[in-house]
């Protein structure tokens, strides 16, 4: 029997439906590509991956990622080796290659559970397929994930670029595949049958797939599609557009039993673009393939192409409010942070304590870092850590009198934490002393953020809001440049609360992380925009963003500021002349009201 058909049937034995995923996985094995499977929990992603590995007879390794996954679990542990050398003894370390370095197929469950930095290096390893100059045996990695983290689409594209194939599945019920749902209901727990392929067969099939030619029609269609669908292709790197697509076309043609790929084989694009395409575009793209194949006189293949690109709620993002928001870039130069040049000392301790107090509930994390402070002991893992070992342990160890390894300091550092958006009123009423105070408060907040390496966003507002970017990012660590801008701000215009809040919340909406705070500095009553900022209050609550408000000046504080802070779990302050004539900061009790 045709080994491809046989493999396909084997996958049907224990997994109902998910036709596209099955086809994609088989093609990925043929083309030696990695696959990213995104879908809701319980739709058979991991099961399918495991079945595949079993039936293609690959030495597979499954890794389950979790919050504390260590690099060594993936790459292997280092071992110390004692050896006699002429008259003396030599101690060196060597790596015992772990799962990832030896397996041919790797199944990675729950990709985004891994700590972000580990994830980044894991993905890099997969895409480079080499480690310390050595090529890995790895052919195909299949990673499953529930929808990705809240990072920008471009960041996700770049992060996942190593996965040649990227598809999205939905459950049978949610996706409306009722016949497969029925089969699943009827299914009796089937035993797994014997592997359908042998390693030698796998290698042979891969080789034959690689020898498929790509015909003129396919090339022309490939190009026309790219020109016709620039947005869909935007998610492809040059590598995926060229090399990966070429190999995918070959595998697809081979899978259809041909020695030459034609225009219709571009159907395979759905497996490259699946993660990003919404259902409609997917269908249209497919139609486009057929159309182009027709134009080129290459008929679409019979029987296939009834592509049901069903996707669960991937609705477009809501339309943005038409607020008067301007986008500006922070001016250079990117110098270092100098000492504060403020002449009015501003005591902002109260405000900083409020920020810190809330942030401890958040995600401020401590992570291992060789440059960090010693916090506790752990076992020595590498010889070069000896310098950091407990001296007594180290001496005993060197003399081979210590049965285990010496203890070394575990150095840790507070991880960069949180996002802070600073909204500063520069309307005309903010002049003279008030302007200086607001500048002083802003200055202190930015320095505070710099110490904690929190990212900052800055919005200046009067009746309009001006969002400042640093190297085209709103949330950034360009503290020095921001401090420069604080100095430059000029008072003018009237006051609008809605525009700056909307501007900041929209930014934070796309920023990951649990510790997101806004500090709004103002002296005025809102005369433009919604004075009650109703939808912004709602948005802040939904996002879990705390909005602190500081009312600078002598008049009464508008009650909406109290409401804003109270509802979002933020704090409210008044900046008034203190005893010495300088600024005095105190808390507004009305803002603290009925906080949970």
């Amino acid at each position: 029997m045709n080994p491809l058909r046989s493999l396909r049937e084997a996958l049907d034995e224990r997994v109902a439906g998910q036709e596209q995923a099955k086809e994609a996985l088989i093609l990925a094995v043929l083309a030696r590509q990695h696959v990213y499977l995104e879908g809701p929990p319980g739709c058979g992603k991991s099961l399918l991956a495991a079945e595949l590995a079993h039936h293609v007879a690959a030495e597979a390794v499954a890794v389950s990622l979790h919050r504390d996954t260590r690099r060594a679990e993936l790459l292997g542990e280092t071992a110390l080796r004692r050896r006699r050398v002429d008259g003396g003894e030599r101690l060196s370390e060597e790596l015992r290659p772990g799962a990832l370095l030896t397996a041919r197929v790797v199944l990675i469950d729950d990709l985004f559970r891994a700590p972000p930095t580990l994830l980044a290096s894991l993905l890099r390893l997969l895409s480079e397929r080499r480690w310390e100059g050595r090529a890995l045996a790895l052919e195909t990695a299949v990673a499953t994930a529930t929808p990705g983290p809240a990072v920008s689409a471009a960041a996700l594209d770049s992060l996942l670029d190593g996965f040649g194939f990227q598809i999205r599945l939905s459950g049978l019920v949610a996706g409306g595949d009722w016949s497969a749902a029925r089969r699943l209901l009827d299914a009796t727990a089937a035993e797994r049958s014997a592997p359908r392929w042998t390693p030698a067969l796998r290698a042979e099939l891969q080789q034959r797939a690689r020898r498929v030619e790509i015909g003129r029609g396919a090339r022309e269609a490939w190009w026309r599609l790219a020109r016709r669908w620039p947005d869909a292709f935007r998610g492809l790197s040059d590598r995926r557009f060229s090399r990966v697509l070429a190999d995918a076309l070959r595998a697809h043609a081979f899978w259809r039993g041909r020695e030459r790929a034609d225009a219709a084989d571009l159907r395979v694009l759905r497996y490259l673009l699946g993660r990003r395409l919404d259902a409609e575009t997917a269908v249209e793209l497919e139609r486009s393939v057929e159309e182009i194949a027709g134009e080129l006189g290459e008929a679409p293949p019979a029987g296939r192409g009834q592509g049901r690109a069903k996707a669960a709620g991937w609705g477009g993002s809501g339309s943005k409010g038409a607020e008067p928001v301007e986008i500006l870039d922070l001016a250079l130069p990117r110098n270092r942070i100098g000492p504060s040049r403020r002449t009015d000392p501003v005591d902002v301790g109260l405000l900083l304590r409020a920020l810190r107090g809330t942030s401890q509930r958040g995600s401020a994390q401590v992570r291992d870092d060789p440059g960090g402070a010693p916090r506790q002991y752990r076992e020595l893992r590498r010889l070069d850590e000896l310098a950091d070992a407990d001296p007594v342990d180290a001496a005993l160890f060197a003399e081979a009198r210590l049965p285990e390894r010496p203890r070394v300091h575990r150095r840790q550092r507070q991880d960069a934490a949180g996002e802070l958006a600073l909204l500063r009123d520069v309307s005309a009423s903010m002049e003279g002393r008030l302007h200086r105070w607001a500048a002083g408060l802003a200055d202190a907040l930015v320095r505070y953020a710099a110490r904690r390496r929190s990212r900052v966003a800055y919005v200046e507002f009067d009746h309009r809001a001006r969002r400042y970017r640093c190297d085209s990012r709103f949330l950034h660590r360009g503290y020095a440049r921001l401090l420069g801008q604080l100095e430059r701000a000029e008072p003018g215009g009237r006051t609008n609360y809605q525009a700056p809040l909307r501007a900041a919340l929209e930014e934070l909406e796309h920023a990951p992380g649990a510790d997101r705070q806004v500090v709004m500095l103002t002296d005025g009553l809102p005369v433009a925009g919604d004075p009650e900022v109703l939808s912004e209050r709602r948005l802040a609550r939904r996002l879990g963003v705390r909005v602190h408000t500081v009312f600078v000046g002598l008049g009464p504080c508008p009650p909406v500021l109290d409401r804003l802070s109270r509802e979002t779990g933020g704090r409210g302050f008044l900046a008034r002349p203190g005893p010495g004539g300088g600024m005095g900061l105190r808390e507004r009790p009305a803002a603290a009201g009925a906080r949970a």
Binding site: L91, A120, A155, D238
Partner: protein
Amino acid sequence: MSGGALQRLRGLLDRHVVGHDSAKQALLLALLSREHVYLEGPPGTAKTRMAELVAGGSGLSFFFYQLHRDTRMAELVGDVVLERRPLDEGDGERIAQRIEPGGVLSCEVCVLDDISRAPGEALNVLLRVLNERRFGERELPLMTAIATGNPVSDEYYNEPLDPAHLDRFALQLRVDSLLQADPPEAARALLERFASGEVREQPEVEPVLSRAELASLQQAVGEVEVPGRVKDSLLEILRSLVADYGCDDPAALLTDRSFLVKAVKLLRGRALLAGRRTVEPEDLAVLHWMTRFRVPEAAHEALPELIGKTLGKRR
């Protein structure tokens, strides 16, 4: 002179990589003038591939390292070993920790892939070593370091590189996606390249030039003449960057080392690449490969025009 040697290396790059003309030229220039080069761009734009090709094709000993979050200095410089030996006299023992040099300490070309991923501490030391080309007592045989990196599109997964770090790379360029580029011809060529099946990628690259050829070229760079008027133009351009484009901040990276010493070397290299023994004003275009991460974006973008204006005035 074996200008043909460079042609061969360029041919190797062109055989394997479509487009990216500036990056290719900059890589050759780096090798020729023994400077370091940094390529930044989105994933999958052949940065690593080009670096590999230059390293392998130049016939020099090379070290390839992919940096990651836990990169330690020891992995870059060799293996750490601990030795215990009885003392020659008396009955004591001597315990010594030492490094068996490897990695960047013993190679001639090193490829540091993805430097944006390395922790600040290791990077700091590493880049200092690259810059000084010595490690402790040891002088490195290193000629050129080629580093690649991704633009930081999300700091959740990446830490931004300190611009001061990037100053260690005389040449610094951005590599953009061909698919997103405006005239689409290059993307079409890329497609054809992979569709044709001509290119089979093997990790091993055959050297296309000999050590002696490279050495004589490197020597020839030093002999290229730099006319006074080109030096004057260089100063005028720098003056305008400082005065008109806000590059006067002490922390801005218009350092004397880069722009008065290395720039001249690169000018010579560029002339030699073009087969000349004298630097021409057009060679000042190399400045554009030096400023990407050293001056504000606006100044960098305006540079070609500024160079054009300066040369026009002189004419």
